[in-house]
């Protein structure tokens, strides 16, 4: 789960990280009062779950409260990538003399966190790492050892951070590590960490990705966050606990298990088609889940055919077949549906589908089913 800038900054503030004062608004008229409270000269920042806001016109300066209203008006409702701007953050202006990058994330190959520091902030850190590798330092933090000032000092200096900024930077990094651990984050980033003209370090932006598996111990926070998708179908899938991602193609896909579904998408591409979505129905694959999944998968005008690829392990194919029949009888889908059942009791599953006389194509192998679904999509 990704946070918006203002949500992340509220979390930073809780850990006493230095953040500029700001106020989030949803109506442009509220910008005037907000700007006045913040001293008149403010930044107007679009709150969307994606980077590259600056280039897209999602970060603007305003020198008077009235200009703030005008800029907020322009920004609210605009699209930045696939996200519509529904909230803007009005924030006090901060002078900039230098920008650094600070972050923590997972190092999966070592089973430890990474600490990353760069003397080149405010830009994409991956890019800096490629173009100016000497400006980025990355070390593992061993939770048994903890993080200590000497490590931050050493790495920051090696990355080219000025010595006069080290004291503040160390204190900010130690707090950021507490955010990482305390909030169960997958990623915490301050980019840029701004050094003002007065020489004070302040968090210019916030980026936090939270671990959904730990949501149970951060219930209040999770419930308060804006969903990180605007798509109504993705939102519905989330409510129903179905793992769904919308894609660009026209072959809708339903399968059980993330790996098998990804493999089905690969197969659709391999056979010359384009997948319309990722949908993992999960373990049980029973009728209620199947019903919602079919509705979700077909809820797009682009979709021309549906491929259901279920592998029966512990869940038997005959049970899955009965689930599919119930659903198809109930929702009467008009598009061609190709069903492939493999694994435990697959023959019973297929003959149950055959005898039911519902309008589905029944295939024995994954390849056959994929080829058929792709062909239907091409016919339109």
């Amino acid at each position: 789960m990704k946070t918006l800038e203002y949500e992340g900054k509220a979390i930073f503030d809780k850990y006493r990280l230095p953040v500029p004062s700001g106020k989030v608004i949803t109506e442009a008229s509220k910008a005037e009062e907000a700007a006045r409270e913040l001293g008149g000269e403010v930044m107007i920042k679009a709150q969307v779950h994606t980077g590259g806001r600056g280039k897209a016109g999602g970060i603007k300066k305003a020198s008077t409260p009235l200009e703030a209203v005008q800029k907020a008006e322009e920004m609210l409702g605009m699209m930045i990538k696939e996200y519509r701007v529904k909230k803007v953050y009005i924030e006090e202006q901060v002078s900039i003399s230098k920008e650094y990058y600070l972050g923590f994330t997972y190092d999966r190959s070592k089973n430890l966190p990474f600490f990353i520091v760069s003397s080149s902030g405010g830009v994409d850190i991956e890019k800096v790492a490629q173009e100016d590798p000497e400006k980025v330092r990355r070390i593992n933090i061993d939770p048994l050892w903890g993080i200590h000032p000497y490590q931050v000092r050493r790495e920051a200096l090696m990355a080219g951070v000025k010595y006069e900024h080290i004291g503040q930077l160390v204190s900010v990094v130690l707090k950021l590590y507490n955010v990482f651990l305390g909030e169960d984050a997958r990623l915490t980033e301050i980019n840029p960490a701004i050094i003002t003209e007065e020489g004070t370090l302040i968090c210019g932006d916030s980026k936090i990705e939270l671990d959904s598996s730990a949501a149970f111990r951060h219930r209040e926070l999770f419930d308060s966050l804006e969903p990180d998708t605007d798509d109504p179908v993705e939102l519905r899938a989330r409510e129903e606990n179905i793992s769904f991602v919308k894609l660009e193609g026209n072959v809708a896909v339903i399968g059980n298990g993330a790996g098998l579904v990804m493999a089905t998408l690969d197969s659709v591409s391999r056979e010359g088609g384009t997948p319309a979505n990722f949908l993992d129905i999960g373990g049980g694959a029973l009728s209620k889940q199947m019903e919602t999944s079919i509705e979700i998968a077909l809820d797009s005008p682009k979709v021309k055919s549906l491929l259901i690829n279920i592998f029966g392990g512990i869940t038997r194919c005959d049970e899955v077949a009965r689930g599919i029949i119930e659903v198809v009888k109930y929702i009467h889908p008009e598009l061609p549906i190709v069903v492939r059942l493999g694994g435990t009791n697959e023959e019973e599953g297929r003959s149950i589908l055959n005898e039911s006389k519902i309008r589905v194509d029944i295939c024995k192998t994954m390849r056959e089913a994929t080829v058929k679904a792709v062909a239907y999509a091409e016919e339109g």
């Binding site: 190959s109 790996g259 390849r367």
Partner: protein, 292 residues
């Protein structure tokens, strides 16, 4: 007998009285797995499926000689179960539980690695291990596997079953099949398993089933290039997945340029593995490398 498993194996099921634990204990017993005890705090003294239940793992070690554990404990309590098993002297722990907070797993894996370096952990979020025809510790459906000489290592559940099923139908049996688990932090990794398969006389060729995210496949590729002596066939799921989107469980997320399916496939191919672009091409590729 197979990777990680020998005739001395005595299994304790942690969380045996839960729905999943109870159900899969039944299936594992049917498959012939030597389950000597269950652990479920507060249920000590009961018997389920003729298996005696204890309140603590330490008792199962003392009274029944348990040396291997499988964990079905719910996510909020599963790391406690990991610590308990490690301290009790269990040296192989298979953690089935899905949804453990990643940092909890990270801390547990690190501490156990330092304090009990002999202990091997498979998972969390692993489907388990199967030695077809002999033993099953996990939630893997035993009926679709057959004994043979191809090892399988995988990050996924159903996709592994799909590929193993194709192999079985093509008359190619399997030696040991291990699902390492789909979580960001896991114990045993591909490279650890390749080391074991390299020495395993039962295994002639290995099939790697990877997924986008992480760097397990790249590390495996490095090992294959330099040290692995048996043929490898690899498929990495998620070649068409868009960057930055989370597909299902936490394992399957691409961050920036690292961990894409194509970079993984490329690394494996350059290391000498035969790579295929769909799961249904695996069986033929295995036949080819075995010279059948």
């Amino acid at each position: 007998m197979g990777i990680f498993i020998d005739n001395e194996m005595k299994v304790v099921v942690q969380g045996i009285t839960g729905r999943e634990g109870k159900y899969h204990t039944g299936l594992m017993l049917q498959y012939g797995t030597n389950i000597v005890a269950g652990c479920s705090p507060g249920k000590g003294g009961q018997i389920i499926n003729e298996v005696p239940i204890y309140d603590a793992v330490e008792e199962t070690v003392r009274h029944e000689g348990a040396n291997t554990s499988i964990i079905f404990v719910p996510p909020g309590f599963a790391v406690d179960a990991l610590y308990e098993a490690a301290e009790a002297g269990i040296r192989l722990i298979i953690c089935i539980t899905e949804g453990i907070p990643a940092l909890d797993a990270m801390h547990a894996l690190r501490r156990i690695d330092v304090i009990y370096p002999e202990t091997r952990i498979i998972g969390p979020n692993s489907p388990g291990i199967i030695i077809p025809g002999k033993s099953l510790i996990g939630i893997i459906p035993g009926n679709i596997f057959s004994p043979g000489r191809v090892g399988i290592i995988s990050r996924s559940g159903t996709l592994t079953y799909q590929i193993a099923y194709d192999l079985t139908n093509a008359g190619i049996g399997q030696s040991s099949v291990i699902g390492v688990g789909g979580d960001p932090f896991i114990g045993v990794k591909f490279i650890d398993l390749l080391e074991l398969f390299n020495e395993d006389p039962e295994t002639e060729a290995v099939c790697i089933i990877g997924e986008i995210g992480g760097s397990d496949e790249e590390e495996a590729a490095d090992y294959i290039k330099n040290k692995f002596s048996k043929p490898v066939v690899a498929y990495v799921a998620g070649q068409t997945a868009p960057a930055g989107k989370k597909m299902g469980h936490a394992g399957a997320i691409i961050s920036a340029t690292a961990g894409t399916a194509s970079s993984k496939m490329k690394a494996l191919k350059e290391a000498g593995a035969v790579t295929v672009s769909t799961p249904y091409e695996v069986a033929d590729a295995i036949k080819n490398v075995l010279g059948k």
